[in-house]
Each structure stands twice: as C-alpha cells, then as structure tokens.
Amino acid sequence: MLSLLIWLPIFGGLYVALLGSRVAPVHAERDAIAIAALTFIASLVLWAGFDGSRATMQYVELLPWIPALNVNYHLGVDGIALPLIVLTTFSTLLVVLSANASVHDRLAEYLGAFLVLAGLMIGVFAALDAILFYVFWEAMLIPMFLVIGVWGGPRRVYATIKFFLYTFLGSVLMLIALLWLYFQSGTFDILGMQQQPLSLDAQTLIFWAFLAAFAVKIPMWPVHTWLPDAHVEAPTGGSVVLAAIMLKMGGYGFLRFSLPITPDACRVWAPLMIALSLVAIVYVGLVALAQRDMKKLIAYSSISHMGFVTLGFFVVFAFATVPAAAHAADLALAGAMFQMISHGFISAAMFLCVGVLYDRMHSREISAYGGVINPMPRFAAFMLLFAMANAGLPGTSGFVGEFMVILAAFQVDFWIALLAATTLILGAAYTLWMYKRVAFGEVARPAVAALEDITPREHLVLTSLAAVVLLFGIWPAPIIDTSAASLHELVQQVARSKIP
C-alpha cells in the first residue's frame, strides 16, 4: 500500500513528463490530474484503515535492499507520518489542478516534476530505514531544483542554487551522524537507532548534525535565509509545495530523529532551541511586517509559524520528566503537530491566492494592487478567510495549534508564553495589513479594475482549502486523534534518559 503511494506518482510523473511533450498539454494535464487524484484517494484509504489507538508502525513493508550492508527497503507509518502523507497528496492534487493558469511553457514536464516530487516526499515520511530515508530526502531536492530553476522568476538561478546548497550542506552532516549511529547500534533501522543508548557527548554531536539538516529545512532562524529567496522565485506550485510540505520535513525529522535518538542532548539544548523559536516568532514576525512583496511576506510568516512547531517540540523537555505534567507535554507535541498540518493548508492557500493575482497582473508587489475586492469579490472573500486563518482567528485551523502550544508554554514559563502569544498580534498585523492594502480602498489602477474574478477551477481549489481550514478549525479531532497515541509514546520515550 505504501509502495503504491510512493511509486504511483513517481512512475506516473515520469510518464507524464516523458510522453507529455509529444501530446497536447491538455492531455498531459488530464493524465496528471488523474494520477494525483488516484494518489490522494489511495492516501485516504490508508487513513481509513489506520488504527489511531496504537502507537506502533502500521502498513509495514520490509524487503532486503542491500543485504550485504544491512540496508532494507523498510516502510511503515505511525500517527505522526500519516497526516503528513495525506497533506502531501492533497497539496499535490491542488498544485496539479491549479498549474495551467500559471505555467504555459512545458506544462507536461512541470506536472511530471510535481508528481515525482510527491512520491519522493511520501517516501521521506514512510521510510523506516535511515538510508532509505536519506535517499528520498536528497532525491527530493532534484525535482524542486529544476522546478524553481526552469519555471521560476527573474532571480531563479540564484534562488534555486542557494536552496539546493543550503539543504545539501545540512543533509550531508546528518548522513555522517547516521553512519556513526550505525556503528553504535549495528542497524540502519530508525526504530532500532532510537533504542540505542548513547553518552551525552555523543548525543550532543549527533544532535547538532541532525539540527544542521532539520533546522535548515524547517527553517529556524538564523538559517532561514534560503526560504524567502526560494519562495519568491519559485512558481506558484513550487511555493505551495515548499511551504506546505517541505518545511514539514524538518519538523518530521525532529520528531523521528532528534527527539527520540538524542533526548538528553535535546534536554540540554532545549533552552537555546526555545530561544531560537521565540526569535523566529517575534523577530521574523516583525520582518514580515516590513515586506513589500506578498510572497516574501508569506514566506516570513511561514518561518514565524514554524517557530511554533519547534517551540512545541522543545518545551516538552521542560516537563517530560515530571509525571504530573505529562499531559502538558502531550499538549505541546499535539499542538506542534497540528500546527504543521494546519500551516500546510493555510500557507498553500495563501500562496495560491498570490498566484491567482500574479497570473493576472504579473506583479507580487503589494503596492501594485489596491481595491481588488471591487473587480474580484469572490476571490477577495476567500483571501480574507485565509488571511484570518493565517492570523490565527478562532474557528479556523490556524488558531488550534498555536493555542495549544501557547497553553503548554504557559505551564513552563509565563514569559515564553507571552512572547509566543505576540504572534496573535503580529500575525494579525502583517497579514491583515497586507490584505487591507491589496483588497480594500479605491481602485487606483486601471489594470486592477480590469481584473477578472476567479475561474471555476480556481474556485474549486480555493473552496476545498477553505473547507478543510474551517473543518479542522471547528473539529480538529481527526488529526489530533490520529497522532495522539504515537505522540504520547514519543513523550514517554524522550522522558527516559538514554545515557548508559
């Protein structure tokens, strides 16, 4: 089942890209939509058959890959990976659906690249063998590199090479850490590595090597600088996938590697990590306020929101060892996890909204707009909803995760919670101020007056996103219940010291 989810989009994508250039773009697009939809349905089937009450790996597949060197093709999902896989298939479907408006040149290859990318990303979430994980993790850079470089904006070459090198540098250090772990534990099995006792010194080195990979990916301040460049230059679909899924891989890496493999080092460095998260939330939030480019603004807002995710991960260490506060630890992790999923929907929606405007006006400058609500009332309504969700309005999914993390942070320290809570003000300020400048006011420019409202397909895409944002805002239980058991297991795991 998991293999199907990984290989269907990869082979489908190669098929679309290779044969697509020989047929009309419409046909290539039809094939791509069919493949993306099938993948999405398959992931829903996966979710339906998943038993959320167990913390163990499910749908496990284990085949020898390089038996001589102990490398296996080992797949499986738990409550942490599964929601991210569904998020991946859902976002890919949306990207494929909305591609034809923004890309006119080599559409088939564009769609193919995204399908391949989707398969590789699912592979990252499903891999249980460290080397298999690494192969997917790196391979994923290739289609993204090409997508940004071929279909991106004017500074695309700079942005895509920066993106590649930053993430590559982080990853290779992780590879060394994984190899070193192999010689300690004798296995490349991630779950086996999690059981390996390690001295604090060893844990510290591994922690920093992992951090190099995951902090760049998520990204944390101060290694975030590739993200605004990549986001701004990427085509709409690239921005959506980057924001909705690729950033989550950093978060997933923390949950799967850093926390369980090096819990003691995490505890030692938790104050620093919390501090960096707060810097991301507050300082990067302020940076977002000063942006003139809509995509850049959303990119900085993403960094700020991911600050909540890392904050949630590391406040856990403040009370994981205190049995009485175990509930708060669960809350923090559940909040961070929910924030990852919710940010996936909201950031995708925001980038798609900017994409809708960009396709019509070919400008991302906030000042190029004004009064968009007049020619495009339906679009403006959708964008308002997503802007509110981005600002964390109760009733939307953006509120739930942030609220849970702040609640947990309160039990650690009042000041941490207070600083984190400033996001509710900052987020509202930069998002709504941008919305005000874009949508409200007099129609100052003739180009804006001539704008046409959203097409039926854009309508479909934005409606489905609006539906999930509201659904999970009002009823977050499906996601929280799916991951609760796995996250609880993780909390117990990090509470035990691994120092021999």
Binding site: S21, P64, W65, I66, P67, A68, L69, I131, Y134, V135, E138, A139, L141, I142, F145, L146, G149, V150, R156, V157, T160, I161, F164, L165, F168, L169, V172, L173, L175, I176, L179, W180, Y182, F183
Partner: protein, 476 residues
Amino acid sequence: MLHALAPLLPEIWLLTAACVVLLAATAKRDAASLAYHLAIGALAVNALLVVAVRPTASSTHFFGQFQADPVAALIKLAATLMFLLLLSHARDYLRVRRALTGEYFAIALMALLGIMVLASAASLLTVYLGLELLSLSLYSLVAMHRDSPTAPEAAIKYFILGALASGMLLYGMSIIYGLTGTLDLARMAEVVTVAEGPSTPLFVFGVVFIVVGIAFKLGIVPFHMWIPDVYHGAPTCVTMLIGSAPKLAGFALGYRLLADGLPELAPHWAGMLVLLGTASVVFGNTVALAQTSLKRLLGYSTIAHMGFLALGLASATQPGFAAALHYAVVYGVVSLAAFGVLIWMGSDGRDADDLTELRGIATRSPLIGALLVVIVFSLAGVPPFVGFWAKWFVLKELVAAGHVTAAVVAVIFSVVAAYYYLRLLKLAFFEAPDSRTPVPETGRVPALVSLNGLLLVLMGLFPSALLTACLTAVRA
C-alpha cells in the same frame, strides 16, 4: 602445462589479439575499420574468458608472479566492458575528425592488458610490468594527434611526470626489497610482520615512496599536476579512456602493494592516504569552481573523486578496500557517460569544451538534458543515482575506521562540488541556447550514452549487486 596456464588465458588471448590487430592495422591502408572490428571481437571474447576462468579463491601461478583472485577478475571484467564502450565511442570520434587509424585500437588493447596484468600482479616485478605497459600505452595515445596544438605538450608532460613517479615507485620498491629480500608480495607481508622493530623507520621511508607512486597514478594531491593538462590536451576519446578504466588500475596498484604486500604497515600508509585523500577532495573541488573548460573541470573533479578512492583505501579494512574498488568501478561508468556526452556534442567535428557550449542544450536536445541530470547528480553524489552509493560506502567505512573528521571534511567539500556541478545544469536548463539547431539524437553515440545513463539509474536503484560483488571479492 595447459592446466597451469588456464588462469592466464585472458591475458594470453588479449596479447595475441593486440598483436593481430596491430598487424591488421599496418597490413593495408584504410584498415582502421577492420582493426576496430577485430578489437571489439577480441574484447567480447576476453570478457567471456574472464568470466570463464574466474576463481572463487585466491591462487598463485607462474612461479609466484601472477595471482588469480576474485578482485582481479572483477577489475578485469569491468575494465573489459568499459573498453568495449570506449573503443566504440573512439571510432565515431576519430572518424568524424578524419583521424581514424588502426593503431589506436592496438594500443588501447595493450593498455587493457596492462590493467589486467597489474590487477593480477603477485610480485613487485609484475606490478611494475603492468603499470608501465599501461602508462606507456596511455602516453602514446595522448600523443596520437600529432597536429593538435595541445596534445604533444600534454603527452610530454604526462610522460615526464609519469616517468618521475615510476622512478619514485621503483625507489620505494627497492628499499622494501632490500629490507625484506623478496619480490613476492605475499611473502613480503609475512616478512614485514617479523621485521617490525628497529628497522621500522626504513620501512616507512620505503612506504612513503610507494605511496607517492600510487598517488601520482591516481592523480591525487599533491601529485595531481598532470591531470588537468592531460585531460585538456588529449583528444576527447583518449581523455575518456584515461578518465575511466585506468582508475581501476590505480586501485589495483594500491591494493596489491599496500593491502597485499604491506598490511602490517597499515597504520603508516593509511595515515598518509587519509591526508592525501582529504587534501585531494578539498583541492580538487575548490579549484574546479574556477574552471571554464569542461574537460579541465572534469579533470579537477577527478582529482576530488580519486581523493575519495584513496580515502576508501585508507580505511585499511576489507570493507574499506571493497568501497574503494566499488568507487573505481562506479566512477569509471559515470565518467564514461560524462565524456560520452562530450563526444556526442562534438559529433559535428568540433570539440565541445567551453562550458558555455552547454548553454540551453536541454532545449536543443531533451535527451541530453535528461542524461545530464543523471550524470551530474551521479558525479555530485546525490541519491538515487549511483554516485551516491560510491560515496556512501567510502564514508561508511571511513567512519567505521574512526576517521570521522576526514569524513566530515569530505562531505562538506562534496557540497562545494555540488555548486560547480549544478552550474552545468544551470547552463543546460535555465539558460537560453545560443543556436536553435537541434542536436541529433539518433545514431550510435546517442544510443550508447543513453544506455550508459540508464545503467547509472539502475545501478542507483539497485545498488546491491555491485556492492555485494565488491565485498565478496575482497573477502574471498
């Protein structure tokens, strides 16, 4: 008698074939095509012979001069298959340039014979014999383009520096011989165990010169100076030859002398190789950043790659040697594909050399574009392509041997390398082409390069076969 000669059958066959090809080439004018077909046939038979007489365990023949073991068999088979591709490319390359001569194929077969003798060497004499046979063949191949402004210079440079390195190697060998009193590598390994003690400094002195010789043949820092000039100056089909199968010979040289002959001195030579290997990775990748010529860029990238190979040897463990062997095979296959693309792009008779000639090539030929993605990411060591497994295996054994710092430096400079590799893709994909004329996608060269690229993908997705083969060969 025949039974005793059986393990040498491939070498005997190849020597005979090379002589026949040489005779055929000189027998009449325009015999180049005949020589080519004979050479290809000889290689195919050679591959079958190597498989037919492949040993499962090590055995020594010919009065202790020649050993047949799985490592040698693997090297011979890989080298023979590479030569099949090499000669086929060379024929097209030379024909377009009206430089097709039969001697080329005869000398190439001699070079292969040198690799095979070296791979099976069991004594210092056979090591040197194989090495010189290979080297002299390569010098003359580089010089074959008499009218080219760069080739003779490259050949002279290669020859002088190569002779110097051979001298160093011989000097080291003579010191070791003087201390141990034997030319036989297996016997030497036993004697060195006993001789540890007061004479150790002398042994180390000898080892230094042997390592220098190996380092020169591999082309690692600081004995790399010949690589960029020779790569640049030689005709592309010869650069391709130098850049692929002889790396296996470089591995064999190190493996036979150090692992077979001087295992007890491993702490000494391993330390030297770690240093030289790391320096190569650092230097090769840094200098490659500044290159504007494709062949020089690939030359500096070779220096870095051979640094990785040396790091594999430096692990001084059986899996470490297996990793180095695997690296040599993989690098050969990848560089065949890379130079194959150069030959393809030069199929109009002009040598494609400047980086800017890649500009927009993916638009002019989507197939070259796709192949470049595979090749470039293989060279850069990004999964799922095969170059990743080669680097991974070396790093794994390096970490196992405790050289974590060297591993970290090596991976960091792999990131530096990624920059100039990505620049190739940037030129090919992200820039507009200078001319709109499509590059031909049919014919033998495109077919062979595509096959080669497909092999890279398959070896990347199913790395087990080659990795296991290398491991079992070294362990046998």
